[in-house]
Symmetry: C2
Subunit: 339 residues, 2 copies
DNA sequence: CGAAAGCGTAGGATCGATCTAAATACCAAG
DNA sequence: CTTGGTATTTAGATCGATCCTACGCTTTCG
């Protein structure tokens, strides 16, 4: 028994088996209509008989389209990004692209590594939610002209951008609280090195001023954007003299932490104290009380981002584009206004 | 001005520029030591000068290693899978593999599509958490011998498997409850078409029997594995005559929903009613009361799965392997036993 | 009846790298 | 000034598909 080295079945084999040329076999595979019905049948039969598996890698080399797009996320563990990623993957798959995943865990160095790998792959384009850092001119921006790229959720200089109007969202929230009679409103959970956070705080401040309230820097309590962060912030919140009666939180996860801590302190959320979150994650609907929140629809964001990238791949030299989605307020019970 | 078609810079260009052959240029790129120092320097300079970008796709065609691995997840929105995916991606990246992502949303058809795309890519191996369904002989199993594949978190016939000892975890939980004096223990949130759920129910039943308690099918309350599912199950739970005094939940998300609903009904969790979850997701630590849960470490699971796949890629014909991680109980306050 | 037109198919070049085997360069010893 | 051996370098084939051009055959028509 000589053991067969198990060579790959290629178009050549198919062609030989069906008694046609590679070119013809290729035409059949690609479903080009110019092939005679009889020939097509014969080739298809050979394909099935020999168990041929298409090799897109080879095809891509020739056609110069890798059919792959890179998706670089700062933290796919965050439900918001997870949702957005799913939407992106779906949209790309619909256009026959494969998604290359890279999770950076907010690590700049890892981001650069992933970027390099994907570029060399070569991916035809890249979607990136840049890792947090001071300057926005980092690795991603450096590739700006070289490769179709789109930033989402967080901006990167020189890149197309799909994001949410965070300032507007914060304003909606503050106005809602104001209408319900709350006057001393805190902002919990921002962090100064995130553009998203800055924009939300800006909107918060603007809305306060517009409502005739004074912006008090003491009421802005920074924290990590996690449940724990929100939970811990409440201690500081309660120590503020002339204690706030409502809080706008950086995101839902923080808000849920805040609610828990407040209730543990005997403060009733929804009557007496108002809490609003950001993002409208699934859990927000099932908390007690239901969390009023600013819906930033990760799915739509993902779709918009993917759309931008596909467009840019088609027209690499078009001017930079930006899509800003408008958030809307989802009113539940955490501010006392049950609709 | 004639506009340059902006041809790609290839090894040929580098070779010409540096006055060497393609082969030599290739040696330099791959860091092969047989190249003379002077030559290497010259080539590197040309690479920088012309802005050469490596094209692994082309290399892969020749070397027959695509350097890509497929990761197919049933729902990356689930925190447990998200964590596992991150761990997988990291492990693969460490071994120089790119991760192709596919999210199936528990959809069999999508799973088949993704599987096909990845196989044709061609990925060198696939990690899959199969979508829920009756028979485990579906699309993934069909490719068993053809392509290195590993199933994780959920079994698939004929594939390597990395998972958690769910039965054992359930037993730990039940024993814990028993020791604390709970005698009427429900199981909330299973679904009969998930092998994971079956194993957990099995462990639950076995532990009951072992403790001298009787297994009562009425106490097994199925639901979707979501917060809402847990929340809604409580209504049924409270209607059972001779009401249970404790509940083991299918996972933490369900458990959190259960806790909320219980508290809303005025039942105090942690004193009077015990609740245990599964998975130890980050939120479990921050709930009120802290959720006692069975830790199934998604990170470890992901690493184990990736490891299995790498091994199988090396030795495609080795016998099927299985890794079962042992869970441990994380005791918090939801059963009244504060450590 | 021969040229033009149309359809289906085939052959060879090509994408951008790597591999193989062999050629060339370099250097010290005989 | 060979010879032998080591150190570098190279031409050409190759991976598996697609593109381009041309060619054979049949059909159409002046």
């Amino acid at each position: 028994m000589d053991e067969a080295p198990k060579r790959r079945v290629t178009l050549v084999d198919i062609a030989a088996d069906a008694g046609v040329s590679r070119a013809t076999a290729s035409l059949v595979i690609r479903n080009v209509s110019s092939v005679a019905e009889g020939t097509r049948k014969r080739v298809l039969k050979s394909i099935k008989r020999l168990g041929y598996v298409y090799h897109s890698g080879a095809a891509n080399l020739r056609t110069q389209r890798s059919n792959a797009v890179g998706l670089i996320v700062s933290d796919i563990t965050n439900p918001f990004f997870a949702e957005a990623s799913v939407a992106i993957e779906e949209r790309l798959a619909a256009s026959n692209y494969v998604t290359l995943l890279g999770n950076t865990s907010e690590d700049r160095a890892k981001e650069d590594r992933v970027l390099k790998t994907m570029r060399e792959f070569p991916a035809q384009g890249i979607l990136i939610c840049p890792a947090l850092e001071r300057d926005t001119s980092g690795g991603a921006s450096a590739l700006a002209g070289q490769l179709p790229m789109v930033a989402f959720a967080r901006r990167a200089r020189g890149l197309d951008y799909a994001g949410v109007d965070d300032a507007q969202g914060a304003q909606l929230a503050v106005e809602h609280l104001y209408k319900l009679g709350y006057r001393r409103i805190a902002f919990i959970g921002g962090s100064s090195n995130s553009s998203v956070s800055q924009e939300r705080v800006d909107g918060y401040r603007k809305a306060l001023t517009r409502s005739g309230l004074k912006f008090d820097p003491l009421l802005v309590i920074p924290s990590t954007p996690t449940r724990r962060g929100g939970y811990d912030s409440v201690r500081k919140l309660l120590q503020i003299e002339n204690r706030p009666t409502a809080a706008l939180c950086f995101n839902d996860v923080v808000a849920l932490g805040v609610i828990e801590a407040l209730q543990l302190s005997g403060i009733r959320v929804g009557s007496g104290f108002g809490v609003i979150g950001f993002n409208n994650i699934p859990d927000a609907a099932y908390s007690l009380p239901g969390l009023t929140t600013v819906d930033t629809s990760p799915r739509q964001l993902g779709e918009a981002a993917a759309e931008l990238l596909l467009k840019r791949i088609e027209q690499p030299d078009s001017p930079t584009r930006t899509v800003i989605l408008q958030p809307r307020l989802i009113v539940r019970e955490s501010c006392g206004a049950s609709t």
